[in-house]
C-alpha cells in the first residue's frame, strides 16, 4: 500500500466582501493540486470567488479541555457588552 495523499483544509470566500469560511477538507499532493481539487469538490455551483487551502497538519487548534481557561475570563466582564449600560430613553439612539 502506498502512502496516502496529505489532507488539506479548504476555505472559501463566498462573495466579495465576506471572509473565507471553512467548507471541508480533501486530499491532494501539493498546494496547486489541492486548489484544483477544491474547485471540483467545493465550487461546482459558483459557491465562491476565492479559495484557500491549508495543510491540515499545519493547523494548531485549541483543545476542548482548555475551554474554561480560555473563555471563562470573559464571564465576569459583562461591561464589554453595550447592553450593560442603561442609557435613558431621552438621550435617543446610541
Amino acid at each position: 500500500m502506498t502512502k496516502e495523499w496529505p489532507l488539506w483544509e479548504v476555505f472559501i470566500r463566498g462573495q466579495h466582501g465576506l471572509s473565507h469560511r471553512h467548507v471541508g477538507s480533501l486530499h491532494a499532493t501539493d498546494a496547486a493540486h489541492a486548489i484544483q481539487n477544491a474547485r471540483d469538490v467545493y465550487t461546482r455551483r459558483k459557491e465562491g470567488v476565492s479559495i484557500w487551502v491549508v495543510p491540515a497538519a499545519d493547523i494548531t487548534a485549541s483543545s476542548p479541555d482548555d475551554k474554561e481557561s480560555l473563555y471563562d475570563p470573559a464571564d465576569d466582564k459583562v461591561y464589554r457588552h453595550p447592553t450593560f449600560f442603561d442609557i435613558p430613553d431621552d438621550v435617543g439612539a446610541m
Binding site: T2, E4, W5, D40, V41, R44, A61, P64
Partner: protein, 325 residues
C-alpha cells in the same frame, strides 16, 4: 437508507463521562472531532458515515452506465453533472468519517473486501433510459427523506456534509422526475418503459429505509445519540405518501394492488417489500453486487499508478524548491 442496518456499538465508558456526553446531545449541542465521545459512538458513526459515503460512490455506477447513451446532448450533460455531484457527496462524507480517526484508504479497503457495505439499492441494474428517471425520482427522493433530518444530527462534520448534500439533491430528484414526465407523456413504447422502470424500482426503493421497526433492534441507541433521527417505518410512510400522488400525476401505476388511502392514519396503506430479498442483497447477492465491487476494485487498481506518480511528482518539485532556496 444509504446507511442500512447500522448496529450501534456497545460502549463501556466511564458512566459519568457518558452522562455528560448524553446531556450535551440532549441540549442540542454538536459533537466536534476533538471532543470526548464514547468509543461506541465513534465506531458506529465510522460505520454509518462510511457506508453512506460508499453508497454515494457505488451509486455512480448504475447512472454512469447511461452517460454515453443518453438520448440527447443536454440529457447527457445533465446526467454527467448529477453523477459528478454524487462523487462530491462521497468525498464530503469520507472527509467527515476521517475526522473520527479512520483513513480514506482503510475505508476503501473495507468496502472492497466486504467489511463495509453500501446501500442495497445500487445492487440493482439500470436496464433502460427510463431507469435514469426512476432513479432520480425515487432513489434520490428516498435519500432526501433521510438526509434532510440528518442535517440536525449530533456529529458536527456529518451534519455539515448533510447540509451541503441536501442543497444539491433537489436537482437530482427533479431531473429524474423531468425524465419520467417526458417518457410518461411520450409514445406508447416510452410509456411502457416508464411504467416498467417504476415496477422494478418501487420495492427496492422502499427497502432503502431498512427493515420494519419491529425488526430493527439497533435503533434505540442511535436515536438517543441523534445519529438516527427517524424510525425506518416513519420515513418509508412519508416517502409513500409523497410519491403516490406524483405517480398519479405521471399517469403511472404503483405496482401494489393493496395500496389504498387510509383516512384514519392520514396516509397510504401499502405492501411491504420482500425482506428476504433485502437481506440477501445486503449479504452481497444482489443482481449486480459482484459487478459493482469489481468495478470499484478495477478503478482502485487502475488508478494506483496515478496516486503514486502524483506523490512522486510533488516530492520532486518540493526537492527542487528546497535546492533553489
Amino acid at each position: 437508507m444509504y446507511a442500512q442496518m447500522i448496529k450501534s456499538e456497545a460502549t463501556q465508558d466511564d458512566p459519568e463521562k457518558l452522562a455528560t456526553f448524553q446531556a450535551r446531545i440532549d441540549a442540542g449541542e454538536k459533537i466536534e472531532p476533538k471532543d470526548w465521545m464514547p468509543a461506541g459512538y465513534r465506531k458506529t458513526l465510522i460505520r454509518q458515515i462510511g457506508q453512506h459515503a460508499h453508497s454515494e460512490i457505488v451509486g455512480q455506477l448504475p447512472e454512469g452506465n447511461w452517460i454515453t447513451r443518453a438520448p440527447t446532448l443536454e440529457r447527457k450533460a445533465i446526467l454527467l453533472a448529477k453523477v459528478q455531484d454524487e462523487a462530491g457527496h462521497g468525498l464530503y462524507l469520507y472527509c467527515a468519517a476521517e475526522t473520527l480517526g479512520v483513513s480514506r484508504d482503510e475505508l476503501t479497503e473495507m468496502l472492497l473486501d466486504g467489511r463495509m457495505k453500501y446501500s442495497s439499492i445500487f445492487a440493482y441494474p439500470t436496464l433502460t433510459w427510463a431507469d435514469m428517471g426512476a432513479v432520480g425520482w425515487l432513489v434520490d427522493g428516498a435519500a432526501i427523506m433521510n438526509q434532510v433530518p440528518l442535517q440536525r444530527t449530533s456529529y458536527g462534520p456529518y451534519a455539515r456534509s448533510m447540509v451541503r448534500i441536501c442543497k444539491e439533491e433537489s436537482f437530482h430528484q427533479r431531473q429524474g422526475f423531468d425524465i419520467m414526465m417526458k417518457m410518461a407523456n411520450g409514445t406508447e413504447a416510452q410509456k411502457r418503459m416508464a411504467q416498467d422502470a417504476l415496477n422494478r424500482f418501487w420495492y427496492p426503493s422502499l427497502m432503502m429505509f431498512g427493515p420494519s421497526d419491529k425488526e430493527s433492534v439497533h435503533s434505540e441507541q442511535s436515536m438517543a445519540w441523534k445519529i438516527k433521527m427517524n424510525s425506518n417505518d416513519e420515513l418509508r410512510q412519508k416517502f409513500v405518501d409523497q410519491t403516490v400522488p406524483q405517480a398519479e400525476y405521471l399517469g403511472l401505476t404503483i405496482p401494489d394492488e393493496t395500496l389504498a388511502w387510509n383516512e384514519e392514519k392520514g396516509g397510504y396503506d401499502f405492501a411491504e417489500p420482500d425482506w428476504s430479498e433485502f437481506f440477501d442483497v445486503l449479504k452481497g447477492n444482489g443482481p449486480c453486487s459482484v459487478e459493482r465491487i469489481e468495478a470499484r476494485q478495477k478503478a482502485w487498481d487502475d488508478s494506483a499508478w496515478v496516486r503514486e506518480a502524483r506523490l512522486a511528482h510533488a516530492a520532486k518539485k518540493q526537492a527542487a524548491k528546497v535546492a533553489a532556496e
